[in-house]
Structures are given as C-alpha cells and as structure tokens.
Symmetry: C2
C-alpha cells in the first residue's frame, strides 16, 4: 500500500517547519577527527554531576520526597525552585516573588509559549538580524512576519514598524532580543540600547521579550542590568512591567534536565500556566526538585568555575583568530557567552565554506545565514568556543584560517 | 503605575484558554477529610520507586552515562528507550522500529503537537462526546471547530461530517479517540467500532489519533487490538498507516518524569521531530535513560501489580455504587482504566452537585460537563477509583449516595 499522505491535512504552518542545520552538524561531533565549533553546548566536563547524583539519591531515598517526585504536579512548577529563582532574580535587580515565576522545559519552551500567546498568523514579531535560530523556529509555528529590530539607541522608528506592518494588514506583537552575549552575534546590548528597547516597546505598546540564556557567563567587565530590571526601575514594580525575562539552567548547571523559567508580571505568568498545562501538564517533577537542590548547593561556585574555564577558551579563540585569520575577516571579542561571530568578505558563502571546511580542514561551525529571518547574512559564521580546550581551539582556528587564506 | 495590558497583544487563540476545573479540584486533595475521586492519577504507593532510585544512581554513578544524561540530546528521544517502545508496540500487534517512535513529554505533549501539525484556525477535529479534557485543551490552542464522532459501527456518515464542515468553510483534519477505558467515559470501543473508526478515517482521508493512555490497565476480558494494529493489518506496514498511536508511561510506571511517545509512520514522526525541536529541543535526557532502565527491569511486573490493585478498587466502587446510588443514576462497569462515568437524572447539574458534595459530603469528583466540546453533559460526573483504597471508596460512594438520595 502507498503511504498515507499526511501532508494533505497539514496545517498551513507546517510549510514553515524546517530542520535545523545545527542538527546535522551535531552528528559531526561523533567523528573524532572533527574539531567542532558548531554547537552552543556546554562542556560536560564541568557538569556538577556529583551534586546531581547526590540530589537524585536524596530525593528518591526519602519516602516523603520520592512520591512527590514521581507524581503529577502543578503546572507552575515546583514551589521551592520557583522561590529560589525569585531570589536569584532579586539579586540581579528584579525584585519579585515565586508568583512571578513559571518553570518551563528550557527557555526554548518559553519562546514557544510566548509565540503561542501573542502571535496569530500574519502578526509582526520584531527580531534582531541575526537572531537566535531556535527563537525563529519557535515563533514560526505561529506564522508571523518579521521586522528587523535595530538595537542602537535612536535607530528604531516606532512609526516605521507600525507603517510597514499596517501595509500588509499586520500589527506588531512583541520585540525579542538576547541582550547579553547574544546567540549568535555575541554582541552585548549597552545600557542605552536596553533603554531604547524599552522606549520602543512602550511607544508601540508591546511586550519586550528578554532572552537571558547566557547572562551568567560574563568574563570581562561589569554586568549590565537586565531589561526587566530597567523596566522595574521605570515602573516601580514587576506587576507594571511589559518585559518578559526568559532564563535557563542549561548553560550554568546542565541542559539535559530541561529546566528554564519565565519571570514576568503575575497576570502574564497566569496565562502562560494555562498554556503549560495544555502543552505538557508540567515539567518533570523529579528534575525540578534535583535542580533546586543543586542550585542551592553550588550555583555560585559552578558559575565561577565556568567563567574561569570559558574565559580561557574565549581568550584562546581570540588569540588564534588574531594569528590565523586572513585580511577581510572581522569579528568582535565577546565579553561573555559561547560564541565568536565572524563576518567574511561579501563574496564568501558560509554554507559553501562549511562543506569545504568539513571535507578539507575537518573543522565544523554554523553558517551565519541560518540566523537571519530575512535571508541575509550568507557571508557570516558562528564559532563556539565552549566545547574545546585551548589547544584544540588553536588548532581548529589555524586550520580554518589556512582554508580561508587559500 | 498600572499593569501593562498584555491582553491587548494576545493572539486570537488566547480567548480559548481556560483553567481546568481539575486544577482546582486537585487542591482539595490537601484537605485530609476530603475523599477525592477527582484526579485520574495513579496511586503513588505503587510507584516502582526503588527501581527508579537504582536507575538514577546507576546513570549518575557511571562517567560514561552521566555526561550523556546531563547534556543536550536529540529531539527524537533516547534511542534505547525508543527501541524498547518499538518492541513493546510489536508485542501489542504493531510491528515497527525505533524510527516510528518519538518521545514526548507525556502523551499530553503528543496531543499538543498533533494539534499544531494539523489544525489551522477553523479546521474541524472529530472528537467523541464526552472526550478527554486535556485533548480539548491541547487542540483549542489551534482554534478548531469540533464535530461529534459516534463510535458505534455504522453511526458515522462521512458525507455528514464533510457537509457540516463545508457549510462553515472548514475541512475535517483528524478523528481523535481513546479506544480503551476512555477518559472520562470509561467506555471501551469494541472491535467493530475500531474498524468503523478506520473506515471513517479512510473515507474522509484523514488521520486517526489513538490515545492509548489506559490500554495497559485492563482488569477483565481479552485485550482488543489497537486501532493502529488493525490499520497495519489492513495496509501491511506501519509506513502505509494513517493511525497515530499516543502512549505513555504515566499510568504504568510514573507520571512525574513526563515520558510518553508517539508511534506512527516514519514520515509523520519526522515532522513531529521538527515540532519537538522547536518546542523544547528534547525531553530530559536523564529521565528517558531512567525510564528505559525501569521499563527493562520491571514493566511487566509493575503492570501486573497495578491490575491486581486497581481491579480490587474498581470492584469496590462497583459494589458501593450498586449499594448506595438511588434510582435514576446509571453507570457502566469499566473493564479497565481509572474511572466510573455516572449519568444523573436530567435535571441535576454535576457542577452544582460538586459544590454541595464538597461542602456537605466531603467527597470530590469531576463534573462531566467539562468533557464535552459541545457544552452538553451537565448531568454527568466522573469518579476515579485509582487513588483510594477499597474502604475509602465504599465510604465516599456511600456519602455521595446519601447526598444524591436527599
């Protein structure tokens, strides 16, 4: 019998679903002679595995805790973990309570939920160019159009966004940004850019979505206040704020438990709880309990260790790029995060280069074009330094430099 | 400052989001003098907690496994778990391979993904009346209309569904059913009803979604073949099948890890993998590894134990209903699952009764109206027998009978 043609009953949004190129790139990691700068993934050597082992053993060894850990639970998330996160948010300038926190399955799920809450087909989402590929994948399920957010002070014309949207019968629903060490550009939004984002959101009467996946991983300089903290400073209280902060433990403690959170006004959290319930009821209870124990036990030490280790790798990649990249290739030294963003001469295509790089230099990376909602950016690429030690970074960048100079 | 009015930028679907009544009812469980027949949740006394404790200890104690457990992984799910599930599907009449299996965060997430894949606003979904409340919540995010599936052989007119949909500019996208010990009706679809479902789906050229959450919990009689098994028998190969089987470990091993699966033709699984990636990247690696080990170690024993224990409770509730319900209240003895479905005299309202029952009898249940997409069913209610021992069941049903007889 021929296969049933499921595509005849697909929703219109199905046409937007695309496999991530990163997916294919991750498979290259299994080839031991490949040096991969592709995935933005933490080095498992730094996972606090003993602390996790102790936490799961404690939870499952305690009759009072284990039945709770294995049972259904509330969609908002495990209250002590929400309480811990609320205190953490307070420490980074956002006074709030656990009522302002929803636990999500990684911050990826928060982006999916925010797309679901705000976007009807044809609505406008404002994103930077480039922006996080996973955000585009999450939002695409809700069939928006995109307009390009410029995060330089004074660069955005609210009227321009409204006019361009209205011209196609659309309206602007939110602005999305990764202010700290952005994936992929590694750029950090300065204070006046953060204020400009809030100004724009206020003038457009829209929420601002702040993706803070990398915020804890700062290697130089002083932390900048989260956009949500600036919003609280303007409005006096998180309940009056339009900013929606998406956080995660994936880059600090471990991604495999899929524990992230949203911090925002309670009225918004309550709506997201309904979406969480309809989506998957709740994130796994046992992992939330373990994450809470590990965060209590070692969050600060873990972040300090990661900063030291990743700083060394960042410095190794900066030195190697300086030493090996030919003229015409440019980048900015990131203050944190996991990435260098390289701009190649205009005639070069990152995708073509990747094919040659894997075949000839045995080095993998992510071509930059994937990160642009508008299809531009072909002459760029993203290099991650999180997964390789300094010697491997030096070797891989040298090989890539040789390829580019050829 | 006044709160930011997020609702001014909500998507149209936000109007359909509703808090589940079950949510409120679950809070009653914290009141020790309440006898709750509300939640369809497993008794934690039967969780294989020692087996889970051993699995997490083994995984996190092994340097080779623990880095994998804590790291990002593939969206399809943990391959050995998919392999185990494929063998399980083979044993219940569905020969397939791990390529036909996607791991989801409970079968709730599978329903969300299937709504996302098939439903554009205004599309038609066929559901029974009553049907699983969580399915309605999942599908509602995609703004369908519903038409009522009759699962008696010969009761469905394909032309009728098409005509009613076409009259409002809609088309039929799928049929959804819970064939075994349905939540909430506790009805089991007989073999000719399963064939009728496949006939209807074939004539309408739509997929059939088979929600098999309770399938393993049969207390009497011989198992009926899954709809997917009948589809394989008709078409020779799962790759030619239109049926999409949603399974879960929530009712057999433990719900707190949120591990479910979809089994279907590979072409469909590949599309769902893209949705999974955009939604939350993947289900937690560590829980999938633990669930695999526990399933390997004790799935069959666990199911045997649950059947014995829940059969006793089912029998206790049947006897108590027989002894205490006044004339005019009817129900069918379920062959499996967790529920009795009661139909009250037409003038009674399940919601009103619940308020009185909690206040006067200290007994909780779920009013039946919540399970009807069409707003009917007010004079029905769902009683779960999974969480109370036989003595409590007898006591609670007696109190409810007294209230109804008054």
């Amino acid at each position: 019998m021929p296969p049933f043609a499921f595509e005849q009953v697909f929703a219109s949004r199905a046409t937007r679903m695309q496999a991530s190129e990163i997916r294919e790139l991750l498979k290259l990691l299994d080839q031991p002679d490949i040096i991969s700068f592709a995935g933005g993934i933490p080095d498992p050597a730094f996972f606090p595995a003993d602390s996790f082992a102790a936490a799961y053993a404690r939870i499952l060894g305690d009759p009072a805790q284990r039945n709770h850990a294995l049972q259904y639970s509330v969609s908002e998330g495990y209250p002590p973990l929400r309480h811990w996160i609320a205190a953490y948010m307070g420490a980074i300038g956002v006074p709030c309570s656990e009522k302002n926190i929803l636990i999500t399955s990684g911050s990826q799920q928060a982006l999916d939920f925010l797309g679901r809450l705000f976007l009807s087909p044809g609505d406008t989402a404002l994103v930077t160019a480039p922006t996080y590929l996973g955000a585009l994948q999450a939002f695409n399920a809700y069939e928006p159009r995109y307009d390009t957010l410029e995060l330089t002070a004074g660069a955005n014309s609210p009227a321009g966004f409204i006019e361009r949207a209205a011209a196609v019968g659309s309206s602007v629903k939110f602005a999305y940004a990764v202010p700290d060490f952005s994936n992929p550009s590694s750029a950090t939004l300065p204070l006046n850019g953060r204020e400009a984002l809030l100004d724009l959101a206020t003038e457009l009467s829209i929420p601002a979505i702040e993706d803070a996946a990398y915020t804890a991983l700062r290697y130089d300089g002083e932390p900048l206040p989260p956009v949500l903290a600036l919003d609280v400073a303007r409005n006096g209280d998180i309940e009056a704020c339009r900013t929606i902060f998406c956080g995660t433990f994936s880059k600090t403690l471990a991604p495999g438990l899929r524990v992230g959170w949203v911090c925002a006004a309670q009225a918004l959290i309550e709506k997201l709880v309904l979406i969480k319930q309809a989506s998957d009821l709740h994130s796994p209870t046992i992992d939330q309990m373990a994450m809470h124990q590990v965060a209590e036990a070692c969050f600060a030490d873990q972040v300090a260790q990661l900063r030291g280790a990743y700083r060394e790798r960042r410095d190794a990649m900066a030195a190697a790029l300086e030493a090996h990249m030919p003229a015409g290739v440019s980048w900015t030294r990131p203050e944190g995060g996991m990435f260098f963003w390289l701009t190649l001469p205009a005639q070069l295509d990152g995708k073509d280069l990747l094919a040659r790089s894997v075949a000839e230099a045995r080095v993998a990376f992510v071509p930059g074009g994937a990160f642009f909602a508008d299809g531009s950016g072909a002459n760029s690429l993203r290099l991650s330094f999180s997964l390789s030690d300094p010697a491997k970074i030096a070797e891989g960048v040298a090989r890539l430099g040789t390829l580019l100079a050829a």
